[in-house]
C-alpha cells in the first residue's frame, strides 16, 4: 500500500494542502504530513512512496478536486517524477534543511531515522569547551544578518558565571540563557518559519548543544505572532521532546539539564533587534538597549545570554554530526558553510535554496528562480530584507558572501531575495522603506524616530517634483545622519534601500507621481 506525503507547512496549507490531505484520507489512503520541500511554486506538492523511506515521486499544484476525480498517475500533467532528482533540489547542498520536507516534523522516530540527535550525542561525549572549539573551527557566523562568529559569542557566555535575575528577590537561582531569535520580520524571508514547521526537533537539538557548550539551563524562543503554525508545531515538538528526555533534567542520561519555552511576539518588527528582543522578553516596550554591556555578559534579566538566530542554531546539529572541517570546507573567504537563501516576490520558482556561500545573486534569481513570475524582465532585486539595498539587474553577478556583498554596498541579511519586475516604481519603494521605519521605529533614538518622518515628507516632495535637486541633497544628508547616528540597524540601515533606489534608479525620481505608496 502506497504512502502519500502532503506538506503541513503553512505555505502549502495556504494553497489548499489540508483539503488535498483530507481528500486522500477520504479515499482510504495513508497520508503523512511532511514539511515542505521548499519548491513553493509547486505547492501543494504531494509525493507517493511504496515504503516510508522509499523513493518518492511527486505531483505539483494538486487540489482536492484532482484527488476526488482519481488518484494521480504518472500520465498526469502534474507529475514531476522522483522528487529528489528535480534539478532545483538536486543542485542544493542541504545541511540545515536536510530533513525538512523529508520527515514528519512531529515524529521523533522519523527524526532519529534521519540522523537526528547524532550531533547532540557527539556534543555530550565531549566537554562544553570542546563544543565551543568545534563551532569556532566550523566558522559558523550568525545568520540573523550581522554575521558575528557564533564561536566567539559562545566563548564569551561560557566564560561568565551564571547569575540570578537582576533585581529579583523571590528567586536567587543563577541562570544562563539560550535565546533564539525567531522574530523573522524581514519581508522575503521564511526560512526560520519553514525550519520550525518542518524540523522543529533540529532547533531544539541545536539549542541543547548550545546549552551544554556554554552551561545554560534555560532556553527561550522568541517567535513572532504572525506565525501561528510555527508556534503550534514547535510547542508540540517541545512537549514530545520533554517526554523523551531530549529536554528536561537529565538529557539523554547526561546530567545536562535544559528546558525550552516559547515566547510569542506581539507584532513589532524592531523586536527582531537583539536588545529590543530582550526588553520584550522581560515584558517591556521593545526599546533598543545601548551596548555595552553585551548580551553575552549581561543579557536577559542581567544573566549571560546567547542570542542566535534560528538558522544559526539549526546549523549546529549537522556541524556536530558531520564535522566542523567538512562544514568549513564549504563557502569562501570568511563566509563558510551553507546559507539558506529564500527566493521571493515576483519570481517564477520561489522557495528555499540552501547552498554554499559564494553562489551569485544571478544564479539564484535566474537559474534557480527562473526569472519573474510575471514573465517581464527583472528590474530590481532587494537583498537582505527591508533594510537591504536594491540592486538593478546588471549588478546581480555579485557573489553571495558577507564580504562581497558589503563591498557592493549590499548585505546578505537573513538570506531573503525579493525580485521586482519592470513595473516597479522605485520612488514608491524608497518611500515605503522610510514609512516602514516610521511605523516600526522603537522611538528611542532621534535620528530614527524623527528622521524617518522627515524622510517620508522629503520623498513626497521629490515625488511631487518640488525642487527635486535640493530635496534629494537634503534626503542624502538626512540618510547620513540616520546611518551615523542611530542606535541600531532599524534607523541605521533604512537609508540602504532609500539611497540605493535613488542611486541605481534615478529616472524614477525625476518625474512627478501622484499615487502614494
Amino acid at each position: 500500500m502506497s504512502i502519500w506525503f502532503v506538506p503541513r507547512d503553512a505555505a502549502a496549507r495556504s494553497m489548499g494542502a489540508d483539503a488535498v490531505a483530507a481528500a486522500l484520507t477520504d479515499r482510504g489512503e495513508t497520508v503523512v504530513r511532511n514539511g515542505s520541500r521548499g519548491m513553493l511554486w509547486m505547492e501543494p506538492l504531494i509525493e507517493r512512496a511504496e515504503t516510508r523511506d522509499g523513493e518518492r515521486v511527486g505531483w505539483s499544484n494538486m487540489t482536492a478536486v484532482h484527488i476526488e476525480q482519481a488518484l494521480p498517475s504518472e500520465d498526469s500533467e502534474h507529475y514531476v517524477g522522483p522528487v529528489e532528482e528535480i534539478d532545483y533540489l538536486a543542485r542544493q547542498n542541504r545541511w540545515i534543511y536536510e530533513r525538512v520536507g523529508v520527515t514528519d516534523p512531529l515524529d521523533p522516530e522519523d527524526y532519529l531515522r534521519h540522523g537526528g540527535l547524532a550531533g547532540l550525542k557527539n556534543a555530550l561525549a565531549v566537554s562544553g569547551d570542546a563544543v565551543v572549539d568545534i563551532i569556532t573551527t566550523s566558522g559558523l557566523r550568525g545568520r540573523g544578518g550581522a554575521g558575528f562568529p557564533a564561536g566567539i559569542k559562545w566563548r564569551t557566555v561560557a566564560e561568565q558565571s551564571a547569575q540570578p535575575h537582576a533585581g529579583e528577590s523571590r528567586d536567587a537561582t543563577p541562570h544562563k540563557y539560550i535565546c533564539v531569535n525567531a522574530d523573522e520580520g524581514d519581508s522575503g524571508t521564511f526560512a526560520d518559519r519553514m525550519l520550525m514547521e518542518g524540523d522543529p526537533f533540529c532547533l531544539l537539538e541545536g539549542m541543547t548543544i548550545a546549552a551544554h557548550a556554554v552551561g545554560a539551563d534555560r532556553g527561550l524562543v522568541y517567535l513572532r505572532s504572525e506565525y501561528p503554525d510555527a508556534i503550534a508545531t514547535l510547542q508540540a515538538a517541545i512537549d514530545i521532546a520533554r517526554e523523551r528526555h531530549w529536554l528536561g533534567d537529565d538529557i539523554l542520561g547526561s546530567k545536562v539539564a535544559f528546558d525550552v519555552e516559547i515566547r510569542v511576539g506581539a507584532g513589532s518588527y524592531v523586536c527582531g533587534e537583539e536588545t529590543a528582543m530582550l526588553e520584550s522578553l522581560e515584558g517591556r516596550r521593545g526599546m533598543v538597549r545601548a551596548k555595552p554591556p553585551l548580551p553575552a555578559i549581561k543579557g536577559l534579566f542581567g544573566t549571560p545570554t546567547v542570542i542566535n538566530n534560528v538558522l544559526t542554531i539549526a546549523s549546529v546539529p549537522s556541524i556536530l554530526a558531520r564535522g566542523a572541517e567538512t562544514y568549513a570546507a564549504l563557502g569562501q573567504e570568511r563566509s563558510l558553510g551553507t546559507q539558506v537563501f529564500q527566493l521571493a516576490g515576483n519570481i517564477a520558482q520561489g522557495g528555499i535554496v540552501e547552498t554554499a556561500f559564494g553562489i551569485t545573486a544571478r544564479a539564484l534569481v535566474a537559474d534557480f528562480g527562473g526569472g519573474t513570475r510575471s514573465g517581464k524582465p527583472v528590474r530590481a532585486v532587494q537583498l537582505g530584507g527591508p533594510l537591504g539595498a536594491y540592486l538593478p539587474d546588471d549588478k546581480l553577478d555579485v557573489a553571495m558572501t558577507y564580504e562581497a556583498l558589503a563591498a557592493a554596498g549590499g548585505m546578505i541579511g537573513h538570506g531573503g531575495i525579493v525580485v521586482f519586475d519592470e513595473t516597479v516604481n522605485m520612488a514608491d519603494q524608497a518611500r515605503f522603506a522610510m514609512d516602514f521605519c516610521v511605523e516600526e521605529s522603537c522611538g528611542k533614538c532621534t535620528p530614527c524616530r524623527i528622521g524617518a518622518v522627515r524622510g517620508v515628507e522629503t520623498l513626497d516632495k521629490i515625488r511631487a517634483g518640488q525642487d527635486v535637486e535640493g530635496n534629494t541633497a537634503l534626503l542624502r544628508d538626512l540618510c547620513d545622519v540616520m546611518t551615523q547616528g542611530s542606535l541600531c540597524a532599524m534607523g541605521g540601515l533604512t537609508p540602504n534601500p532609500v539611497l540605493s533606489a535613488i542611486n541605481q534608479f534615478p529616472e524614477d525620481f525625476q518625474s512627478p507621481v501622484i499615487a502614494t505608496g
Binding site: A11, E226, R284, G345
Partner: protein, 163 residues
C-alpha cells in the same frame, strides 16, 4: 451571520488568569496583557490597572507596553479579521492593487466591512514566494485575490458556532 462573541469583562476571573503568570515570571507585564487579550479578544481598559497592581508597577508602565505592540487591541476584533500583507515581497506581485480592490469591495458592501473590520496592514506573513499573502481569521492565504479572500471568509463563517 454568526458573530463571534467575546466574554464579558470579569475582574475576578481576569485576576485569576494573570496570577500564575505573575507568580512564575520575572517580567510578567507583556505576558499578562497577551493572556487577557487571548481570553477576552481585546484588552479591556480595566485590565491595565489590574495588571499594574498585580505586577507592582505603575499604570503608566503597563499602558506603555500596551500601546507599543501592534497586536494588542483596545477594541474587540471583527468577527472574521482580514489582514493583507503590505511588505515588499507582496508589493512585487500586486499587494497594492489587491488592497485597492479589497477596499472597494468593502466600500460596496457595508456588511462585508463590518464583518472583516478595517484592514490593518500587516508586515510579512512569511509566505513571500506565494504572494500576495493574506490572513483570514488566522488562516494563511497564498496568491490572494478578492475571490479567494471571500471564499476563505465563507469557510470561516461556516465553521463558526455561537458560544
Amino acid at each position: 451571520m454568526t458573530i463571534t462573541r467575546q466574554p464579558e469583562w470579569n475582574a475576578e476571573e481576569a485576576a485569576a488568569l494573570i496570577a500564575p503568570i505573575v507568580a512564575a515570571e520575572s517580567g510578567p507585564v507583556l505576558l499578562c496583557l497577551q493572556a487577557v487579550q487571548a481570553h477576552y479578544g481585546h484588552v479591556y481598559s480595566d485590565a491595565i490597572a489590574l495588571i499594574a497592581d498585580a505586577c507592582n508597577v505603575s499604570r503608566a508602565d503597563v499602558h506603555g507596553v500596551f500601546t507599543f505592540y501592534a497586536d494588542l487591541r483596545e477594541t474587540p476584533p471583527p468577527a472574521v479579521p482580514v489582514r493583507l500583507c503590505a511588505a515588499e515581497a507582496c508589493q512585487a506581485v500586486g499587494a497594492r492593487t489587491l488592497k485597492a480592490e479589497w477596499s472597494a469591495a468593502c466600500e460596496a458592501s457595508p456588511e462585508l466591512a463590518t464583518l472583516t473590520g478595517v484592514d490593518e496592514p500587516i508586515f510579512c506573513l512569511g509566505n513571500c514566494a506565494l504572494g500576495p499573502a493574506a490572513m483570514v481569521n488566522g488562516e494563511l492565504i497564498g496568491r490572494a485575490d478578492v475571490a479567494r479572500l471571500c471564499q476563505a471568509i465563507d469557510a470561516a463563517q461556516a465553521q463558526e458556532r455561537p458560544l
